[in-house]
């Protein structure tokens, strides 16, 4: 009996150990990573949706690989890319992502190309407002014109007494933090005293801007190009003469390098597609053309992508080998017939 117990416990421990080791065992590092379905990171702004739709069409029809678009806020997307849960991001607003250089150095993902870098962000006013008030040119002029910008949250807003109101971008944007830094800086204290500001989601930002623009009312707030709304409306970027410093909040945000990146797995598993993505370069104007179409068609990025592929055939056919290009063109003809 004793020996039986001894043997039994020995066996049990051995079995347990084996199981534990098996469970802990790392995946074989020599095994090729597989990316059967490419997951593109998607955000709630339209240029990202447009580029994703373009790339999706080219990859699915030219390379025969499935594509999924996964939506997430910027921090969530960055985390998913690090973990390898997403594979490609067509629009990394690299200056807005604090860990970007660190992540590149650590090899979580690799920069393939600069999608575009001629974008502008800052505080904008409608052009009609500047025509009415030609003195309103720089952010430093804002305190003198605070009486124009009604605070919709005040029951009896008094232009003479109460501060004006401006909209800032989504709370997750680095630009929003930049403006909050700016308003804490003594150099900009006059703005902080004469305005209150609310960070809002992109949908709220656009809704308030459209509403004001339709009625030719004053509006001031953060926005950026290329976006459908900025391509559609006539807006003026307020100047900010100071030298740019993020932490101090001085100056205007410089144009961002909006890059195309891919994860390690993607690099090894889909080298041909990585090659194509490395050639992917547009600019704000080329992107903006697609966005105007998108704005006119209920924000349908897939339809806008088809239109864009026709419009810029000479451009994108240079990014891919001839046989891929002809496959995509065939699919494009077919899609347009429908």
């Amino acid at each position: 009996m004793k020996t039986f117990l001894k043997r039994f416990s020995f066996l049990a421990i051995a079995a347990l150990l084996t199981l534990t080791i098996a469970a802990c065992e790392q995946e074989d590092p020599d095994e090729e990573p597989e990316v059967d379905t490419i997951i593109l990171a998607e955000s709630d702004w339209q240029s990202h949706e447009l580029h994703n739709s373009v790339v999706e069409f080219i990859i699915e029809n030219g390379y025969g690989v499935d594509v999924l678009k996964a939506y997430g806020s910027t921090p969530a997307v960055v985390q998913a890319l690090r973990d390898g849960d997403m594979h490609v991001n067509m629009e990394m607003w690299s200056d807005n992502i604090a860990s970007y250089q660190e992540d590149l150095d650590a090899g979580y993902y690799h920069e393939l190309s600069v999608n575009f870098d001629d974008n502008y962000q800052g505080l904008w006013i409608p052009e009609y407002l500047q025509e009415e008030h030609p003195g309103l040119v720089s952010v430093h002029d804002l305190p003198d014109y605070a009486h124009l910008f009604e605070n919709p949250d005040e029951a009896n807003w008094d232009p003479e007494e109460d501060p004006g109101h401006m909209y800032l971008g989504s709370v997750e944007f680095a630009a929003t933090q930049f403006y909050e830094n700016k308003f804490e800086n003594p150099e900009y204290s006059e703005i902080a005293e004469s305005f209150v500001w609310s960070p809002v989601s992109t949908s709220v930002l656009n809704a308030t801007l459209y509403e004001a623009y339709e009625n030719e009312e004053p509006w001031v707030g953060y926005h950026w190009t290329p976006t459908a709304i900025m391509a559609e409306l006539d807006m003026v970027l307020l100047e900010d003469e100071g030298e740019y410093d993020y932490d101090e909040g001085t100056g205007n945000l410089p144009p961002n390098d909006v890059t195309v990146i891919a994860t390690d797995d993607m690099m090894t598993a889909q080298p041909e597609i990585v090659e194509f993505l490395s050639n992917y370069e547009t600019d704000a104007d080329i992107t903006g053309q697609g966005l105007i179409y998108m704005g006119e068609h209920d924000g349908d990025s897939d339809a806008a992508a088809l239109d864009w592929l026709v419009e810029y055939e000479d451009l994108w056919t240079q990014w891919v080998p001839d046989d891929v290009a002809s496959d995509v063109l065939d699919a494009l003809d077919e899609a347009l017939e429908e």
Partner: protein, 296 residues
């Protein structure tokens, strides 16, 4: 065969009807035509919120803690009093007192307006079968329509800020109060009604002397549910400035912490909202039980 398949399996394209353009036009039309009405409602809601906040802000925190202790003690037990006082104190210790007042303002204002609207609506609903049928559909829609669908229209009608936020909170929080008021009145036993009628009560006497007192418990449960719904809605409504333009309420802090992936901050702000919900829930329950005992 293919015709059949094209028609009956996949939804035929030519039957697709896109209502978006009409809805957009309707929203524009309603916004312009009744601009004065939306403006008046906006003014009223903003003033209501101003007064509520001024009152809450006027009361020192220490008075809050003491009053809640006494209320909990008198309504339920000294243990309850202690719990309410400790939770209130904890909100202050987390550094959230002023932020909490901003959120509480909208919750309280939303609940008070819901009671003012919900009680009469529930009573009318219990008196008319036709109205009841209509209200049922309206209430179901209010409760199931995802909040995202009306946040932006609310913004267009009432402007960014507390007015639009209050409208969103009320749309979401009002239905249970109407339903439970209606239920409370329709569930009164026949004997009770008979007794009232045989004493020759007028409809008004029936309502105030018999129906409402009998329905009180149900109504209190409705107020409780409405309050909890308002607490949960404030998180979404913070996106349209429900806690005030340029102000940092608990819900906005929570929202910012979540999208900024600051987990610890999100947990703390979340707990402040939970504490607020517990305090409100226990208070209203205490009142309800108190009424119930007093009624018997």
């Amino acid at each position: 065969m293919t015709i059949l398949k094209n028609f009956f399996v996949e939804f035929p394209e030519r039957l697709i009807y896109d209502p978006e353009a009409r809805i957009a036009r309707f929203i524009d039309w309603a916004g312009d035509t009744f601009a004065f009405l939306w403006g008046a409602i906006r003014q009223f809601l903003l003033r209501f919120a101003d007064i509520t906040h001024a009152f809450l802000d006027f009361v020192p925190w220490s008075v809050f803690v003491v009053v809640l202790f006494i209320a909990g003690w008198r309504l339920t037990s000294w243990k309850m009093g202690l719990l309410l006082a400790v939770l209130t104190f904890a909100i202050g210790m987390f550094g959230y007192w002023d932020n909490m007042l901003l959120s509480l303002t909208i919750i309280l204002a939303g609940v008070i307006i819901s009671v003012i609207l919900g009680l009469p609506l529930g009573i009318i609903m219990s008196k008319s079968e036709k109205l009841e049928a209509v209200m049922r559909v309206v209430l179901d829609t209010m409760q199931t329509l995802p909040a995202y669908a009306y946040l932006i229209p609310a913004l267009m009608f009432f402007g960014f800020g507390r007015a639009a936020g209050l409208v969103a909170v009320i749309i979401f929080a009002l239905p249970p109060l109407i339903r439970l008021t209606y239920l409370g009145i329709t569930n009164i036993s026949d004997e009770m009604i008979e007794a009232g009628l045989s004493f020759g009560s007028s409809p008004m006497q029936m309502l105030f002397k018999i129906e409402l007192p009998q329905a009180l418990k149900s109504i209190a449960a409705g107020i409780n549910q409405t309050t909890m719904m308002a607490v949960s809605m404030i998180v979404l409504a913070a996106m349209i400035g429900a806690e005030g333009a340029g102000r940092q309420g608990v819900a906005l802090i929570l929202y910012r912490a979540v999208v900024g992936q600051r987990a610890a901050e999100a947990v703390v702000a979340g707990f402040v909202l939970v504490f607020m919900a517990i305090i409100l829930d226990r208070l209203i329950q205490g009142f309800t039980e108190r009424f119930d005992k007093g009624g018997e």
